[in-house]
């Protein structure tokens, strides 16, 4: 089934409400929707047709067409298609209808549009700031094109008061790797209401890319979004550019696939180690970290660096591998497989994992409603994996299975991750065996076309990573929207925490493998000075 059937179905049902239809490829189309009937269309496209939200991006196109454009990207797993529901607002319209009550996972996206573009979501139940500080002036909207990328803003120092009886964890806590704040309201030791507050680290990476860099440099910036899954981000960005500029050669695709899987193995092992540490199984944590060193050696061998591989470039990869490296990689991977398998089969480890049963429950319906991604979704029984659903790089040629468990709890999330490591090992072995000969870079790509929309997607260790991209003039990027997997998963945390004992809060929160750096897209550096948009008192409070 192609995108045409979906669009036809929608246009039959809503007739005049759909202003314009645009079919870009067989699997990708855009419909422009009238503002008044927008809510019905998105409700039908998401709930009735069984879609899941990939990303939502608001773009300030006022300098070009005099309009704001809000793109809701919905994916349909069964036929592997993507549909953009587009809402256009004139430059003097400052509000748009909020669809949170129909599509609950839009909560964060709409709040981000609100603070970044200055458009109010009408009817949003909780229109609070998401990433910017609470005392940020409301007329300063950073992602408007009239806002200079290095502008500094005066803040006042006001904060939202908390309700009485709140238990807060974070933003600075030894068990949390990154700054985030859990606000819990408990009754008889059980959590009644949970709020996740973030934005302690926001430094506007997208604005920097749009304002200062050309397209050849952004994949290095994208790699620095996250310290764990950075390569996936650069893969997503490069994929989006290559979809409109030109394909890489086959050998490059295989080498990229190998590194993506190397990253997945090291990320999953790190998560297992951290989870083990938090529940007090420090022995196992150290053992897992020891196994992880072997995969870090593989990364060193292939790319020349433990993290921040710097391997990616538009149109290919920057380093090739020879037979010597191949042998060493194979040897290390075999070692990881045997050591990790013996650890999984040990009674001690099984006992520890069994303790996690029945904690942090996220039912299948809730997971579907919230468009949860990655191992978190697969542990709730949803078979979703970008590698299978929207195959990219060499994944269409390799044979692997998607690990799905119906456990709905932390135990499931741990098991899914543990068994995915073996699948990754399988993929790396296949890629090494079938590595095609030839060049590693496509030198034909020099210029990218203007004002083209493209979406790059890949399966990060934590789930679906989606980059929405519009190219600009003179080889720049006009809009770059990063939807990290944690951005989707973290919206499910309050649901998971409901009814849990307060003691379990941290483990439940960590079970989605949160990566706040991804969510908040950090770092702005200009001429040697760092600009922190978030005032310091916020952390002291």
């Amino acid at each position: 089934m192609s995108i045409i059937t979906v669009i036809n179905e929608l246009s039959e049902k809503f007739k005049d409400a759909i202003l314009e239809k645009q079919i870009l490829t067989e699997k990708f189309g855009i419909i422009k929707v009238d503002k008044n009937t927008f809510l019905d269309v998105i409700d039908y496209a998401y709930n009735a047709l069984g879609g899941h939200l990939l990303t939502m991006a608001g773009t300030d196109l006022t300098p070009i067409i005099g309009k704001y454009v809000l793109d809701y990207v919905i994916g349909y797993l069964r036929d592997r298609t993507k549909l953009i529901v587009r809402l256009e607002l004139k430059s003097n319209e400052k509000s748009f209808p909020s669809a949170v009550l129909k599509v609950p996972c839009l909560d964060y996206y709409e709040r981000e549009v609100m603070e970044m573009l200055g458009l109010t979501p009408e009817g949003h139940p909780n229109p609070k700031r998401l990433l910017l500080p609470e005392d940020w002036p409301s007329d300063a909207t950073p992602l408007n094109k009239s806002f200079e990328y290095n502008k500094r803003v005066e803040t006042k120092g006001e904060t939202y008061p908390l309700k009485k009886g709140a238990i807060t964890i974070g933003p600075v806590n030894p068990e949390l790797e990154e700054p985030i704040r859990l606000i819990l309201y408990a009754e008889n030791g059980k959590i009644k209401e949970a709020i996740v507050e973030q934005g302690f680290n926001y430094r506007g990476i997208e604005k920097l890319a749009e304002g200062k860099l050309n397209y050849e440099k952004i994949h290095f910036l994208a790699e620095r979004i996250c310290g764990i899954c950075g390569y996936t981000h650069s893969e997503c960005y490069v994929q989006a550019i290559e979809k409109i500029a030109g394909e890489p050669p086959e050998r490059a695709k295989y080498l990229r696939t190998i590194m993506l899987e190397v990253e997945r193995i090291h990320s999953h092992l790190l998560w297992l180690a951290i989870a083990a540490k938090v529940i007090g199984y420090v022995d196992g944590a150290l053992k897992l970290l020891h196994i992880r060193e072997l995969i870090m050696d593989v990364a060193e061998l292939v790319t020349g660096s433990r993290k921040m591989y710097g391997l990616m470039t538009i149109g290919g990869v920057r380093r090739d591998i020879d037979d010597k490296i191949k042998e060493k990689v194979k040897e290390n991977i075999k070692k990881i497989e045997s050591e990790f398998r013996s650890m999984l089969e040990a009674q001690e480890f099984k006992d520890v994992l069994n303790k996690l049963k029945g904690i942090g429950i996220l039912s299948k319906e809730d997971a579907k409603k919230l468009s949860v991604v990655g191992p978190t979704a697969r542990a709730s029984g949803i078979k979703t994996d970008i590698r299978k659903d929207y195959p990219y790089e060499a994944y269409k040629d390799v044979d692997f299975e998607v690990q799905v468990v119906d456990a709905e709890d932390i135990y499931g999330r741990a098991i899914v991750r543990a068994y995915e490591i073996f699948e990754s090992i399988k993929i790396i072995e296949q890629c090494l065996d079938n590595l095609p000969e030839g060049p590693i870079i496509n030198d034909d790509i020099e210029f990218i076309p203007e004002m083209k929309l493209s979406i790059g997607m890949s399966e990060a260790p934590r789930g679906a990573d989606v980059h929405y991209l519009i190219t600009g003039r003179n080889n720049t990027v006009y809009r770059w929207r990063v939807r990290a997997p944690t951005y989707a998963n973290i919206q499910a945390v309050p649901k998971m925490l409901e009814g849990e004992p307060v003691d379990n809060a941290l483990v439940v929160y960590l079970s989605i493998d949160p990566c706040i750096a991804c969510c908040e897209r950090v770092i702005v550096i200009e001429n040697g000075k760092r600009y922190y948009y978030r005032p310091k008192f916020r952390i002291r409070r």
Binding site: L213, K217, F220, L221, R224, E300, L301, G304, S305, M308, G310, R318, R319, I525, N527, G528
Partner: protein
Amino acid sequence: MSSIKEIIKREPFEKFRGKPEVDPTKCIGCAACANACPPQAIIARDEDGFRIIEFSFGRCIFCGRCEESCPTGAVKLSSNYLLATTTKDDLKLVMKFRLAKCRKCGRLFATERQIEHAISEVEKAGYTNIEDLREAQYYCPECRAKLFAERVLLSLKFFRGEV
């Protein structure tokens, strides 16, 4: 007291990307690395008849783009990864190159070394009419184009018998 290097015994592996080492005798000041550098750790600017190229290793992300883009092989990523220092200036390298004037319009258009490099490249390619080509390198691109156009016109006139 033993230095940090003695305490940390771990040797970097093959192909490791560490601090970029610059050979100032090889550098021609073309600023290709400054164009390629993603975090702007290399900055090039023209000042008072000199081109200044400034490396700030503190901002380097060790991607190796400078090494790839260098036409003379002056920049190489070394295996040195211990950049900790008590003085910030240790992480800076400033190089100055004298700029050459165009013989016709007098504009400062390239460094003297760039011109030398261009001439040596021409010689390597084995052109016979070297003196002519050598002279052409001392003109800025616009003047060079004009000069060439004038010559073509002259030869056209010659063939038509107008001269």
